[in-house]
């Protein structure tokens, strides 16, 4: 069950190329944070003390911190974000010691059905890596070896993958401009990888993807072509994050020819089977 609480900013560290790692903790005497699953998210206020009229809404951020072991309550969590708009620009200016409202954990999180011996192939576009990171760390903890494919614009954006590499996650990179790793998009990297894997790919791998909409659509198409299961963590502007505004929907079809239905990304998602999403 999500908890709405005020958390204290312990650190708001710039990691380069507009990427920030935010550490939030429950102040002494306040209740501990309920445990969460990889891929769940938090609605966070933007670093001004107290409720603000402008910007009015909190922002959704995936929880970067891996889930606490044995589902224990936690006293702190981290958010990894990139300054992309007005909200994140405000958050980047927030100083340690400030308290911010935080409603978490929200959404369904990743729970890919696992065939024995299969490995997770994590396809990240830019800051989408932040929601895949805790899943990868969890895999490592359980003795498996996930592989992350990371697509970004240019070499400077490798800041977005630094914490994951530090955590021991194997990452392969593609950049739009070819300044680091392979040249091209994350979906291209995925396509080449699955081609090299050959017909075994569909038994060996399960794809989890997060990034810009076009990138996830591309990844879903590539995955379908290779017959590999694919789960995507979708993004949307959100007003509430807990289901009541019905503003963050995505169109889904439960099968070919089935009617289009709108599902709330914040409650029925953010993780969906890529095969049901009406891209």
């Amino acid at each position: 069950m999500p908890l709405d609480t005020a958390l204290r900013i312990e650190e708001n560290r710039h990691l380069g190329a507009a990427h920030f790692l935010l550490t939030l903790s429950a102040p002494p005497g306040s209740p501990p944070l309920p445990s969460w699953k990889a891929g769940q998210f938090a609605m966070i206020g933007l670093g001004l003390p107290g409720p603000t009229n402008d910007p009015l809404l909190r922002r959704p951020f995936s929880i970067f911190e891996p889930p606490p072991q044995r589902q224990a309550p936690a006293s702190s969590l981290r958010i990894f974000y990139k300054v992309l708009g007005r909200g994140t620009a405000l958050l980047a200016r927030a100083r340690p010691g400030t308290t911010v409202p935080c409603l978490a954990p929200l959404g369904n999180g990743f729970d890919p059905p696992r065939a024995a011996g299969s490995r997770l192939l994590l396809v990240a576009g830019g800051i989408g890596a932040a929601s895949l990171h805790p899943l990868a760390v969890q895999e490592l903890r359980e003795g498996r070896s996930p592989l992350m494919l990371y697509g970004c614009r240019t070499a400077a954006d490798l800041a977005g993958i630094a914490p994951s590499r530090e955590a021991g996650i194997e990452v392969r990179v593609a950049t739009d401009d070819g300044t680091a790793g392979a040249s091209g998009r994350a979906g291209d990297l995925l396509d080449r990888f699955l081609r090299d894997e050959g017909p075994q790919a569909s038994r060996r791998w399960i794809i989890c993807a997060c990034g810009p909409h076009a990138m996830m659509r591309h990844a879903a198409q590539v995955a379908a072509r290779h017959g590999v299961p694919c789960h995507v963590s979708l993004e949307s502007p959100m007003a509430c994050g807990f289901g009541v505004c019905v503003g963050c929907v995505v169109g889904v079809r439960d099968g070919a020819g089935e009617p289009l239905r709108y599902r709330r990304i914040c409650v029925e998602g953010p993780v969906f089977d890529a095969a049901v999403v009406a891209w």
Partner: protein, 327 residues
């Protein structure tokens, strides 16, 4: 025990609708009420107004459905809802377990549909009142079509009154030249209560892409940005009709709620604030109680319309400063 020790009386009556305190959640901002359960005790509230119900489930509008604006937000949800049958079957039994007035908001595309919805709810236990959404700006048919026309407002109000024994609340749109004409028409047609206001129609443009942010183009503006507009309309309607009012529009605090009470509303609805803080409505009840305590107010009902005692503002003036026709 002294009155002070017992605490201020928060109970109010909006005509036939008795509420243990004046705070309700607004339609479209609390799901079907049960969606708030992880975040607050429903029994802490005077009432909840469920999301607009239609006869059949509706899928709503294509995304993008929301856009943040200065001190507010636009929405174009398009009344996505599970339909009245599923509400009665799946949601109402749980709601009945909580000590809170449940108001069913209904939406029809025709007068007949409104009446059918009211009849469907009339037989159900645990519905305190019916609220008519004749002011939704986000549907092609029904909704605001009724809310901008005094005659259509009267027709739908009469039809619903004839179809239900429950108190009928008519929710007014601010997107009219003179809201008092619509208010008078609804009152004359038998409305028990008026709630005001629904959202203001607005648009935000994505300047990178050169097109409206919302897929529907226009949407309804809510949040603190509209509060002064809504307070004035409440004040005006309070002078135009004698039936009780429920005020809403950008309420975020106990003080905000008291603005509407003092402008003439018997109760209030909290909407967008719930999005930014799931427990907002319960906090607002506490803040109103605290205000009464601090100011020695024995009963919050004594504050209803307080702002009208201080001078004559020209309530009959329309938005353009023109004299409106007397109803």
């Amino acid at each position: 025990m002294s009155a002070a020790a017992a605490g201020p009386v928060l109970a109010v009556s909006a005509g036939p609708l008795a509420l243990k305190n004046p705070v309700m959640t607004a339609s479209g901002t609390c799901g079907y009420g049960v969606d708030l359960l992880p975040h607050l005790e429903l029994s802490a509230l005077g009432g909840i107004v469920c999301k607009s119900l239609s006869l059949k489930p509706r899928e709503g509008s294509a995304p993008c459905r929301i856009a943040e604006t200065p001190a507010g937000m636009l929405n174009a949800i398009g009344l996505q809802n599970i339909g009245v049958e599923a509400f009665l079957r799946d949601k109402l039994p749980e709601l009945r377990r909580h000590d809170v007035a449940v108001v069913a908001n209904i939406f029809g595309e025709t007068v007949q549909e409104f009446a059918q919805l009211a009849r469907a709810l009339d037989g159900a236990d645990g519905i305190a009142a019916v609220e008519l959404n004749i002011s939704c700006p986000n549907t092609a048919k029904g909704g605001i079509e009724f809310g901008v026309d005094p005659e259509a407002t009267a027709r739908v109000t009469e039809a619903v009154k004839a179809a239900t024994r429950r108190p009928v609340i008519v929710k007014l749109s601010p997107n009219v030249t003179d809201i008092t004409l619509i208010a008078r028409a609804a009152a004359a047609a038998g409305a028990d209560i008026l709630s005001l206001v629904n959202t203001f129609v607005g648009m935000a443009v994505d300047v990178q892409r050169g097109r409206p942010i919302l897929a529907s183009g226009a949407g309804g503006l809510s949040g603190p940005a509209i509060r002064p507009l809504a307070v004035l309309l409440t004040y005006r309607v309070a002078r135009a009709v004698s039936i009780p009012l429920i005020g809403l529009g950008g309420i975020r605090s106990g003080a905000d709620a008291l603005e509407f009470i003092m402008a003439g509303a018997s109760a209030v609805q909290v909407g967008t604030a719930t999005f930014t803080e799931p427990g907002a409505a319960a906090r607002i009840v506490r803040e109103m109680e605290e205000h009464c305590r601090r100011h020695g107010v024995a009963s919050i009902a004594s504050l209803i319309g307080a702002a009208h005692q201080h001078g004559a503002f020209p309530p009959e003036a329309g938005p353009a400063g023109t004299a409106a026709a007397a109803g």
